[in-house]
Amino acid sequence: MTSSSLDRITSYQAVMFITNFIFGAGILTLPRTTTEKIKTPDSWIAIIVSGLIITLVAVIILKLCQRYPDETFYQFNQKLLGKWIGSLLSLTVICYYIALSAYEVRTMAETTRLFLLQGTPTWAIMMPFLWIGLYLVQGGVNAIARLLEIIFPISVLFFLLVMFLGIELFEVDNLRPVLGSGVKPVLKGVTSSSLSFAGFEILLFIYMFMKEKNKVTKVPLLGVGIPFIFYTMTVVIVIGSISVDVVLSQTWPVLTFIRSFEITGLLFERFDSLILVIWIMQIFATYVIALFIATLGLNQIFSKSTHAFIYSLIPLIYLVSMIPKNINEVFKMADMISNFSLYLFFIMPLVLFIISKVKERKYEKM
């Protein structure tokens, strides 16, 4: 899997990669996960703060990638950390992406079983999903990018439409008092809300495939900016409509909000099934990107055929996704994955950037 002339993506497609990867199943539980630690209606402030921090980290990642324009993270980390430590780090990242794709597939199966296909066995929902993803990843980065371009406007349009249809439930009082318990709870919630932006690190892997490498400053800004606006809006509308107490007691607060209103006179009266069908595409996008990055890593570390890795990862992802025995264990798995990503992708790019700077200065002196 090299960056051949055919396998190139535009800046817009790179933005689609980042945005679609940050979205995923996380948005359905976002109001609860951010409010759990804060326990006040101020989680929207925590999201704004964490969004700004993430944008800064994304810009650092971009600066790091600009030093190695024709290599992915799997290749340049070996230059910075040495072959063995670099390979070990790459394998850790691959394991992370396998776990992430397994989590996404399992969440999709759980929500589908709960809201759309009651009684259908989990394997029957998951297997076709895994196979279609495999077929897409075989097409390479360009095929994925083109699919993301189709998925993004559809899912965003429907999501916005459904969110604003329920706006009559919105009460500003549910969001008051602003900073009633001070700044401390908000700062506590910054970590958990930062985790909802996990996925911005994709730039480490797709930078190599970009066509116009001189026009990339907007890529991390837009890539993180779009989910940032979306997340803030979702949290404000959901908490403002169903209040903090209800948000904390619900497994899928966004779906609960969508279920809590009916619009008569339109083609549909209830929108939970519609939004779930649309959002499955978004979960599919996250799964496919994670599978692609894991395959890319194995391909670049072991220099073997991509096909063999794609086919062998599918049963592995299935096995990992079936480890949690119930929905609570799925959420525990999500917590573990997101905590792991905090150490892996928030701290590591900074360390690598510092090492590359130090190495550059060393060479300059020599």
Partner: protein
Amino acid sequence: MFKKILSLIPDYIIFLQAFITFLVPLGFYKFFKWIHSLEKE
């Protein structure tokens, strides 16, 4: 610790399903590869 790891291992049926997950797309891949090879001949 060992018990904890053992408890994470899924049932044999999950392994069987994982094998099917691997076998079906591989079967399709081999089949279409064979068809393409016939076309070339």
